[in-house]
Symmetry: C2
Subunit: 183 residues, 2 copies
């Protein structure tokens, strides 16, 4: 069991993290661009997020979460407290923008943020530096960046689940094998 656990998980690797971070906006654009609004605004019911909401959430993360927090960790300032991240900020948006506009905005922010990440020339010492998360307390830059990658994948997961569920009533007995619709 221990051997299995050792082999199973990856250790944080900056280049392999960037591989995911730079693919996410393009993968989501390929999946969502030009889709009918029934898919884009689909949700899992009241107070749940649509693919449109999730793209807004990614943008908020680019603007106020991941790289701004890296800046705090790496800055010479003594105060290492992160600004709290509003996980619901995108729900206050007026939805006047099309999803294609949001996807462009996300891609552009991400491109700039990855450039800043690369320019930071992170080494082990910098990755071990800490910031103060408003809820969790001390976290390392390594954990923050790993969370950024995992967060990307988590919301691809969410978007595909939300869209799949729309056909829950249409797939008949296949609910047995396509269990995503019941989650």
């Amino acid at each position: 069991m221990f051997k299995f656990a050792l082999n199973f998980f990856m250790l944080f690797d900056l280049n392999k993290s960037i591989e995911i971070l730079e693919r996410t906006p393009a993968a989501l654009t390929t999946l969502l661009q030009g889709l009918s609004s029934e898919w884009i605004f689909a949700s899992e019911g009241e107070n749940t997020w649509s693919p449109y909401d999730v793209i807004g959430h990614y943008i908020e993360g680019e603007k106020t979460d991941w790289i701004p927090r890296m800046r705090i960790i790496l800055s010479p300032d003594k105060d290492k407290r992160f600004v709290p991240f509003d996980r619901f900020a995108q729900l206050k948006n007026d939805k006047s923008k099309s999803v294609d506009m949001l996807l462009n905005e996300f891609s552009e922010w991400r491109r700039k943020n990855i450039a800043e990440l690369k320019e930071a020339n992170l080494d082990e010492e910098k990755l071990n530096k800490k910031g103060i998360h408003p809820e969790f307390g001390e976290v390392t830059l390594r954990e923050l960046l790993a969370a950024w990658v995992t967060h990307d994948l988590n919301h691809i997961f969410q978007i595909s689940r939300v869209m799949a569920k729309q056909y829950k009533k249409e797939i008949g007995p296949w609910t047995k094998y396509i269990s995503i619709v019941n989650k």
Copy 2:
């Protein structure tokens, strides 16, 4: 509650289904092409599928499941029994092909199959026709096609979950909000 349920689910729509079916290979290519092998061959432990295995599974579906079953349903033959689908066929592959080769193969099969789907000129009458699933018994063409779409999204969901889990040990306290790593 009843009103909510009515609004929540989409009814099957051929064009909206094709929107997803034609995006899936491109979205997966954008996500996976050129990724490090640690991501491509990552799994959730013994006897679970890697992104590589899942792409092989999509190809098997194109070759032997969805459109071949549509052909049985629409054919003038009396025998409407589907050939059982081997959900583990791709695990017998020799893995000599790169994931990029598999993604190309999937894209090519999907392109041909969508062309055949469009050429079938499906109307309500045809969508109500039935085939005999080896396990489920009678299923309609509508259910089969809805399952195809949902199955696409289900495996995007799976791939993003498998990759996210690789950083389970690296994200520290963020496991609280990025719960995908615990699934």
